[in-house]
Symmetry: C3
Subunit: 157 residues, 3 copies
């Protein structure tokens, strides 16, 4: 595919957030050869450090799906920063890890995770189809509903 | 090692499940060079989308161990699909991620995870000895008790 | 950087624990090319298999940070075993996974995870700055408060 990641996202009616530098001794992306490790991203709309809630109690599947999409927009923004915004720089999205803040009874993590999977596949096409692990966790940083991390295969080392 | 993965599994008295295509914009395996990323797998015996329970409350360690083995059979089935069922195509099982649906009080995730580790080591021998992270999660897709994902080193790129 | 990892840790006023062999069909580290996969490590001070507690209820952020540091010391000890204790053998710490035993209301996993991130960055400098995923889990093996796993880029294949 050609074009910019930003344009692909805009064509989907969405907008990439500003990339925030992580506040600590870690970084948002690390490259090893042609593998890009993207740190866990949460949605930019998440503010404050208080308890925001869990899916299955305070939020439903659709809200979870939107939170997964928001987290994935941040993953995309990190990829943009590394690739100079070129869709063609991504050979393959290898793996997404999707962590969903869940009650013990909530079991629709796959539907929630599709918010991230559908978005990244819409941007990169076949190259966007990834292996995935989606699990329900007790809680997430800043009370986020969803956290997404990624391993990306780049076209150039 | 030589022979087929299916035969190794049969010699252990177990049977590989049919590989199910994932229902979404993700895939079961992605290959990057000689690394194979296997998506999170749950046991084939898990049906329905309701709450199935957690280990430490509704299920015990032995049932968890069996669920880990069932999830690992699906990991093996995914490897079979990629390698044309050849044991020799796997140079090394690099890493298993084992997510165990747990109560806050349950702390025997290592014993549960051995259900997966023992099986994959029995199939691949020394090449099956892997790095592992085993953690207790709040809940899993479809109410599964255990989810297992994997990174495999293949012999051929 | 030059020198030994043990010396760097000692200069920080800490000591590397003895490496314990994992009790099962898995191993502490697997090398694939120049990638080193380090299995999930918990703190050496954790004993027994009973419920130890969760951060947000029985323990606070500072205790969590110390548990993350203790787990990271074990990650470092595993790296020492593979690299013959040479700082220069690590080209980059690619990724840390930090699992924090949390109540549903606890949302400061990033502060807890900094216990690991700050330590590994102090040892390896710029090469120690890693991508990271920090999440709150229901419970951990042996009642640990924090589990840390890692992917390391080595300088030599």
């Amino acid at each position: 595919m050609t074009g910019s990641i930003t344009q692909k996202v805009a064509a989907l009616g969405r907008q990439l957030p500003q990339v925030a530098a992580p506040a600590g001794n870690y970084v948002s992306t690390v490259r090893v050869g042609n593998l890009l490790f993207v740190a866990g991203q949460i949605g930019s709309h998440v503010h404050g450090s208080g308890y925001a809630g869990r899916i299955g109690a305070d939020f439903d599947v659709e809200q979870g799906r939107q939170a997964a999409q928001a987290a994935c927009l941040n993953v995309l923004a990190q990829i943009v920063a590394v690739t100079n915004d070129r869709v063609s720089a991504v050979r393959r999205v290898a793996r997404l890890g999707v962590f969903v803040a869940s009650t013990p009874e909530f079991t629709r993590q796959l539907d929630v995770a599709n918010g991230a999977s559908d978005l990244i596949a819409a941007v990169f096409g076949e190259a966007g189809k990834h292996a995935r692990a989606a699990v329900g966790v007790a809680s997430l940083p800043h009370g986020a509903l969803v956290e997404v991390d990624a391993i990306i295969e780049l076209t150039e080392v």
